[in-house]
Amino acid sequence: MPGPQIDPHRDDPGEEIDPHSVAARPDRRTFFKLAFATLGATAFARAMAPLQAWTETLDKASFVQQHYRELDKQQMATVLTRLEAETARDYGAKVSISDPKPQPGVKFGYALNLSVCNGCRRCAEACHEENNHDRASHQSWIRVFELDKGSIDFESGSTTYDHAVPQPDKFYMPVQCQQCDNPPCVDVCPVEATWKQADGVVVVDYNWCIGCRYCEAACPYHARRFNWTKPFVPAAEVNPNQSYLGGRIRPRGVVDKCHFCTHRTRVGRLPACLEACPTGARVFGNLLDPDSEIRRVLAAKRTFVLKEELGLKPSFFYFFDE
């Protein structure tokens, strides 16, 4: 006679199993649900990993720090001390971050002699070392163009030449931030992290910048660059003479640019690129001082600015000797 029907989904005839549970139905659909749920959870955890790294180094003080222009002297001193400690922690170098203010009666101008520049890139290298740029990408705020004599056609020029210079049919034009009087980068910044100060320098508050790169897109001279990674600088090569709005080691994800070496020029020194130039092609000074070298160049030489038709009024001039 037939025995009792044995249900294959039951481990033990006496045990009740919910027929809708996973254990009751180990079929293909269930397997795939489990597998892709695990995969999704793993992917989500990996995507969130940078947040964990960020929160390890994030502290309350830097999160609530106000805009540079809203800090009083005491708050600024606290910020500078905190940044110096962070640099010592991250880079192993003892640095001194200052905050030099624009001097009254000073407006900086810079001129470059295209008859003399030989494209040696010593200026770009000096900027790289003076302003603590990332070593891995060998960055600098100055790019030197090699252009054909006869016109200024950047599209046919090169910034990556590596042959002996100067070539007889080329001329060389270093380009850096022009510190425009009508800067488009300042106009487009959504958070006012960049602005023009009284001595003509357009500065960036790296702790306020959100890294949207609108300014990088707006600049017609491509003078701004973005920090895709946290800059790597060996401790022995860190320049300890830094400034808050200038040459301190930038955090990851902010835009930076040439600031005419404010840590030097606002105490009367020449910028690093000028001192490094072996041919003496660069001239720097105070446009408001009628006896300065830059004023004499502008008065006597065949001088022009780049992209004049845009009406940005740069403070960087190029000239020829004859």
Partner: protein
């Protein structure tokens, strides 16, 4: 009976006055972020207080000999060590000479005899070196000039460059743009240009950015 003007008329003037007052108040107080940069006042003429140092030759010219001094350094001999005013007493072989002595002109022969590679346009030796005093230079009118003042000699022919040098746009500088805050160093002509081959040599540029 003339109808009175619409009852909103006094109401409108109050609103207009309030708006005008607000506009005037805002324009005088200004908004928090005032983006306009007031034009800076004209600079006072700064009086230079710090000196300018010139990197110029301080000793007369000399040539390396084949001998060594007591400290192991190559012994150098001043021009008057071999030459007197008459040009005699030349001791051949005292200084290192150009090995390929294939000179075609007396100018080149003179240069080769001293190990000097001369490439300075049409300039000959005695245009710059004094015939009477071998430890001095000479100007075009025959006056002698000490080596430390060589810039005057260069300026004789290279007036535009000298003019630019005095104006501060030739030859570069190190130190301070503001001479009331610190000193400055300028290069003399021969600090950058070899007087016998003054043209700037070709160089290898430093590496480009990697990106």
């Amino acid at each position: 009976m003339a109808t009175r003007a619409a009852k909103t008329w006094p109401h409108g003037s109050v609103v207009t006055a309030a708006l005008l007052t607000a506009a005037v108040a805002l324009s005088t107080v200004g908004c928090e972020y005032d983006r306009s940069v007031a034009p800076p006042p004209p600079a006072k003429r700064r009086i230079a207080q710090y000196p300018v140092t010139y990197v110029r030759p301080t000793v007369p010219a000399s040539l390396p000999t084949k001998r060594r001094a007591f400290d192991g350094q190559v012994a150098r001999i001043a021009c008057s060590g071999c030459h007197d005013a008459a040009g005699a007493n030349v001791t051949a072989g005292e200084v290192d000479q150009n090995p390929a002595n294939t000179s075609e002109s007396q100018n080149e022969a003179g240069a080769d005899a001293h190990g000097v590679r001369l490439k300075h346009g049409d300039v000959t030796c005695l245009m710059c070196h004094s015939r009477t005093d071998r430890d001095a230079l000479t100007l075009a009118d025959g006056r002698t000039l000490e080596f430390a003042a060589a810039r005057r000699l260069c300026a004789q022919c290279h007036g535009p460059q000298h003019r630019d040098y005095l104006a501060g746009s030739h030859g570069g500088m190190n130190g301070h743009w503001d001479q009331s805050q610190g000193p400055r160093t300028r290069n003399d002509c021969t600090a950058c240009h070899d007087p016998h081959r003054p043209a700037w040599p070709m160089v290898t540029p430093l590496p480009a950015p990697r990106r």
